[in-house]
């Protein structure tokens, strides 16, 4: 089976004044379909930078990035936007919903950007919300929802375009343990239904949901091991 994602010697450097910050310093990584991966590491080690790279929000200073056979490191802004729209679902620590829009509209937005007609959008968005158990909250705005519910809207939004991969950067970081557990349940079931998930976390017990755990230190992969069989 061909790999979903392949990173070869990826570097991401920032110039801050005279200094060069090596946020990623030569990362090699291959990810296959239907993997469930946790990325761990101390603060500032480059986890978010790696997630942004995988999520095509960022482009490498050097190195080669292939996503389902497409060369991401050569793409322009429009191509990157398109691949994010079609293939990637983001879940952020701070939810990042549109504050003035309903849950339904929030989930609908990615479909707008892929030119899907209105009736199909409503269909898909409400199906997606139902999947995360929010069928009775479709017309609520983010400020009328709990943190856990907001994160579930965000997951529904990430799922709605049937992405190849779901990227979650500390998805439970802003939640109490009960809501966090709910979110992890949803991610687990998405994985068991065939989705590919990458998750950044500081918590051992969260990381243990995954079958593969990658440790990062100073922009390099320190270790990468399979902890569970599928």
């Amino acid at each position: 089976m061909s790999s979903l994602i392949s990173l070869q010697n990826i570097k991401r450097h920032y110039e801050v004044g005279d200094e060069i910050v090596r946020a990623l310093d030569g990362v090699d990584l291959t990810i296959n379909h239907n993997e469930y991966i946790s990325i761990m590491g101390p603060s500032g080690s480059g986890k978010s930078t790696l997630m942004n790279m995988i999520g095509c929000l960022d482009t490498p200073s050097s190195g080669k990035y292939e996503f389902e056979g497409e060369l991401v490191h050569d793409m322009d802004d429009n191509q990157l936007a398109s691949i994010r729209n079609r293939k990637i679902g983001f879940v952020f620590q701070t939810f990042n919903l549109l504050p003035k829009a309903t849950a339904l509209h929030n989930v609908e937005v990615p479909l707008i950007y892929s030119n899907i007609p209105k009736n199909q959008r409503i269909d898909k968005a409400s199906k997606s919300l139902t999947e995360v158990g929010l069928h009775d909250r479709m017309y609520h705005r983010p400020n009328e929802l709990s943190g856990g519910q907001r994160q579930r809207v965000a997951i529904a939004r990430a799922l709605v375009n049937d992405p190849s991969i779901i990227l979650a950067d500390e998805p439970t970081g802003n939640l109490d343990s009960k809501s966090g557990a709910e979110i992890m349940n949803i991610l687990d079931s998405l994985y068991s239904r065939g989705n590919t998930i990458i998750l950044v976390t500081h918590e051992e017990y969260i990381a243990n949901h995954a079958h593969r755990i990658i440790n990062i230190f100073d922009g390099k992969i320190k270790d990468d091991k399979i902890v569970k069989k599928k």
Partner: protein
């Protein structure tokens, strides 16, 4: 996509109602001033056109008084009076004169049975009708014989006819002019107000013979000379030298008479039009610039406030162009709404202006002012929108 961007922009404007409407104020004033100005000018044009057609572009008016000159009144008064005898001399000496009509006028009181009115009477010759654009509506003008024999006949304006006779036939009836009986033989067509100022429908025209015999030879006098419109400039200089010979002026002496033509009105009118147009345009441009800067400012604030939203939209697949269009639409919509409000107010205003004098808001100007609003939206929205489109998604997502 188009409608979605429109919807996103509309909801964002709605959520910032007060701010948006304050910003639109400049556009409202801009559109209002340009359209009201246009309405005024259209109305002026119309009444000017009407009045000018009454005067005639092929007529030269010789009198002591020069139209629109800044000559002192006493200077004019010190000039020699116009004389009836000039008519014959001009006929003899001028090749350009096609018709010559002396006109003497004064105030007089007219009465019919128990009705009376104060008005202006004219004494003139048979060629008068060739030097004016108005026509006889009922009856006829007087004849050469009636002029020579000082027949007591008169042609009255439609205003007098309405006031004295209502639905009766005025032809053959006798009216009194300063107590003297005159037979009505004709009625002039209704003319309306001259330049919207005074009505020319309350006049009575008498044969020169009767006028000079029964009233005085004095009073304000002018000579209307009809010429070929195409040769009016040559005709004017010929008449000038004819008049100088009549008056016996030596070379170097200044003219002590004036030859006027409708062009003088046109020049004067154009000055007025430019003044109104210029003022309107100045206010318009100024308020559009101020409005445009205001909108640009609001858009910059809006982009700043919504940096995170822009980051989210980009993360889930918005291309730079989609973001650009969203913000550009927002600026354009504010401007167009402002423009439409301005236009609505202008329609209201033109309704009132129309009551004062006939005028309409020209359609092309309404369209132009909306296009202008769109342009202001594009110009003032493009830089902030471009800035939004260029935002780096990671930076934007991290923005607090």
């Amino acid at each position: 996509m188009f409608f979605e961007s429109l919807r996103i922009s509309l909801s964002s404007i709605y959520m910032n109602k007060l701010r948006s409407s304050l910003t639109a104020l400049g556009i409202i004033i801009g559109v209002l001033s340009v359209t009201v100005m246009g309405t005024l000018i259209s109305g002026l044009d119309r009444s000017f056109e009407n009045s000018m057609s009454w005067l005639g572009k092929d007529i030269l008016y010789i009198s002591r008084w020069e139209w629109f000159s800044d000559m002192e009144w006493w200077e004019v008064r010190n000039r020699p009076r116009m004389k009836l005898s000039y008519e014959e001399k001009i006929r003899e000496m001028s090749d350009y004169a096609l018709a010559v009509s002396p006109v003497i006028q004064r105030e007089a009181s007219l009465s019919f049975s128990d009705k009376n009115t104060q008005t202006v009477i004219f004494g003139t010759n048979v060629e008068y009708m060739e030097t004016v654009k108005e026509d006889i509506q009922f009856g006829r003008f007087f004849t050469q014989g009636e002029e020579r024999s000082a027949a007591r006949v008169t042609i009255i304006g439609s205003g007098i006819k309405d006031a004295f006779f209502e639905y009766q036939d005025p032809i053959g009836k006798y009216i009194k002019i300063d107590g003297i009986k005159f037979r009505v033989i004709g009625v002039l067509e209704k003319q309306g107000k001259f330049l919207g100022l005074f009505s020319v429908d309350y006049q009575a025209i008498l044969p020169l013979g009767a006028y000079t015999r029964l009233f005085s030879k004095r009073g304000f006098m002018r000579l209307s000379v009809k010429v070929n419109e195409k040769k009016i400039d040559d005709a004017k200089s010929e008449l000038q030298s004819v008049m100088r010979r009549i008056r016996g002026l030596k070379p170097g002496e200044k003219d002590d008479f004036a030859i006027n033509q409708t062009k003088a009105f046109e020049t004067q009118y154009n000055t007025l039009k430019f003044a109104i147009g210029g003022t309107g345009l100045f206010i318009t441009i100024l308020s559009l610039i101020v409005g445009g800067i205001g909108i640009m400012n609001i858009m910059f604030v809006s982009v700043k406030e919504r940096t995170r939203e822009i980051g989210v939209r980009k993360a889930i697949g918005a291309t730079p162009n989609m973001i650009l269009v969203q913000f550009l639409f927002e600026a354009i919509i504010i401007c167009v709404i402002g423009g439409l409000i301005g236009l609505a107010l202008a329609f209201g205003a033109s309704f009132f202006i129309n009551k004062i004098f006939p005028s309409t808001l020209p359609l092309w100007l309404s369209i132009v002012s909306i296009i202008m609003s769109i342009l202001v939206g594009v110009i003032s929205g493009i830089v902030p929108s471009y800035q939004a489109a260029r935002l780096d998604p990671i930076e934007a997502l991290r923005y607090e």
